[in-house]
Symmetry: C2
Amino acid sequence: MVQRSSTLKVLAEHLDLSITTVSRALAGNPSVAARTRERVTAAAREFGYVPNLAARQLVSGRSGFAAFVLPVRGPSYVDSYLGEFLTGLGEGLATHGVDLLLAPVQPDRSELAVLRHVIESGRADGVVVARIAEEDERVGYLRERRVPFVMHGRLLDETAPVSWLDTDSGTAFGEAFDMLYELGHRRFGLVSITDRMTFRHLRERGLRAAIARRGDQAVELEVVAAPRFDRAAAVAAIDGLLHGPRRPTAVIGLFDELALLVLERAAHAGLRVPHDLSVVGFDNVPAAAYAPPGLTTFDACTRRSAKEIGEMLVSLVEDRGGEPLRRLVRPEPVLRGSHGPAPRSERAVRRGRSKP
Amino acid sequence: MVQRSSTLKVLAEHLDLSITTVSRALAGNPSVAARTRERVTAAAREFGYVPNLAARQLVSGRSGFAAFVLPVRGPSYVDSYLGEFLTGLGEGLATHGVDLLLAPVQPDRSELAVLRHVIESGRADGVVVARIAEEDERVGYLRERRVPFVMHGRLLDETAPVSWLDTDSGTAFGEAFDMLYELGHRRFGLVSITDRMTFRHLRERGLRAAIARRGDQAVELEVVAAPRFDRAAAVAAIDGLLHGPRRPTAVIGLFDELALLVLERAAHAGLRVPHDLSVVGFDNVPAAAYAPPGLTTFDACTRRSAKEIGEMLVSLVEDRGGEPLRRLVRPEPVLRGSHGPAPRSERAVRRGRSKP
DNA sequence: ACACGGATTGCAAACGTTTGCGAAGCGGCT
DNA sequence: AGCCGCTTCGCAAACGTTTGCAATCCGTGT
């Protein structure tokens, strides 16, 4: 074991004081004389005293940890989400002296089992949960167990008394549609996923709501989907969309990774972006800036969001039983080169059809 | 506080046994009767008992944590390093039941101070350190304090008895040179950083060694550098290289971020890659695949490396005082479109000059 | 002289484990 | 009957804190 650092007992003996007084002096308790406090703090500094946090936790019941369960990921991914998220979370927690507990999930265990262990063993005071599924057993457990937690993302049930921060991607998808509609597009494609994540639902809903608001019967929307991390299936779905009978002039990816794939398949099919096809994504991953002609997308502000999530969690842990906290952050549109006016021919066709 | 989960005391009372026996039964101690052990495990399962780890740590002296200090980062970066690294680390630690402690550094504190606190407070049994500087105070502290730790990267002093895993980027840079030389390139540029990180040194050295091995006086190398996260300075340095009197035909970036910037500035200067200029990077960040014509680079295998680092750290913590562990992983070349034969004109000029 | 009150300090319990050592029970042997 | 040894279990200390309560000291007012 690492050579133990100085303890209260050592300090107390050296100062000829009781452990109690030393403890109180360091805690800034006003009942200890100013002179004594000075002696104690001086000695503590000299001895390099740092309190043992396990011991403190045992009596205080607080661990000073916020937990995050490390998602199990496929072999590879074009995604800086995790790094940005954890960086932000760290920023949000740092100011309150809270550390981050990253619990990896062993191959044979479920994410819920890991979460349970972290909580029941008293390792963490609060939890942050990302990638919310429509039926999320983790959320169910945390609520029942009355553990302070904050979700990155929302539940479908808006009335549930839970704390969350979400990027308003529904509205963003609506904005994307409006922008593309103004540019003359009428035939839309959406590349989605089959996984039952709430964000899929919210984004599709946002898009459909915007379409409905417009009230233009000429607007068409074709939705294709593939399992989240199944690249081959996504390629097949996108190719189906691009080579279908009524190829859309504008395709929206549920997130950048899919939109980038659309860019790739479009190039492969000889389609020029944005001349023949407009493409819009969501997230603003780094690669979006590099893929020609530059992917138009929305910045999810992951890092900033995570920072706020950290702060929310801290305040949740401090005053238990308070009202749940909610926060909707507005994603920033990032206009690059992958969107443009609908192809002339299409516009002509449309006009032709709309006045027969 | 979170409602406490069941304790040994509760179990003991319920089973009419002593705490000692219950503890031993759950630990699989053979001195408890088989029948008793069964009763205990059954009750433990029924009560959902999970041992309090703070209490266990207090007596065992082990926290079950590996610590990683969250680097403070600039406002943005094209980098998936952190996410991949932590994912891999999690994988390496998970099988041994070790959790990851991510310590964020408060704005007014140094990274070393955070590390000190984590260690002295007994929060972690071991540490992993990345981004090794030539003079690294963190490493100095950990060695002196005899804390088990593993570095991602190396010290310049090869003889120091410390554990590390590093990607052999020096050799990779040599390979890059050899490949480009075979393609006819003779005038090389290296875009480096001014920060005194050991990997800068190793990569430059690897490149220079390969040049020396070749023993061709016609080979030229111009090195430019900028502070690590200063994009404007990097742009200026690269532009200087590209518009200098003896523009290189091949430019190597110390890492992908710089190589991608070279691609950008080359396009800006009207240079075609790889026709007029070859560019090679290192790391294989996701964006490298998207930036046209595809950045030729080396895969740093971050995730796999991190997994091994996790395993190394675990074995280091288990048997203290063992020999330091070292591991050099060979980076995979990823050949894409950004390298090619040296421009014809250049080759002609070279031939002309070499036989006057 | 005595009581009182405020300032300062210490005692001891508690948090939930692990573990060295001793005790009890019991069967078999002499 | 007495002893031994094995199996099974419990007592109590220890890990390093925090904290309610009591103790001490000292000065002041009556």
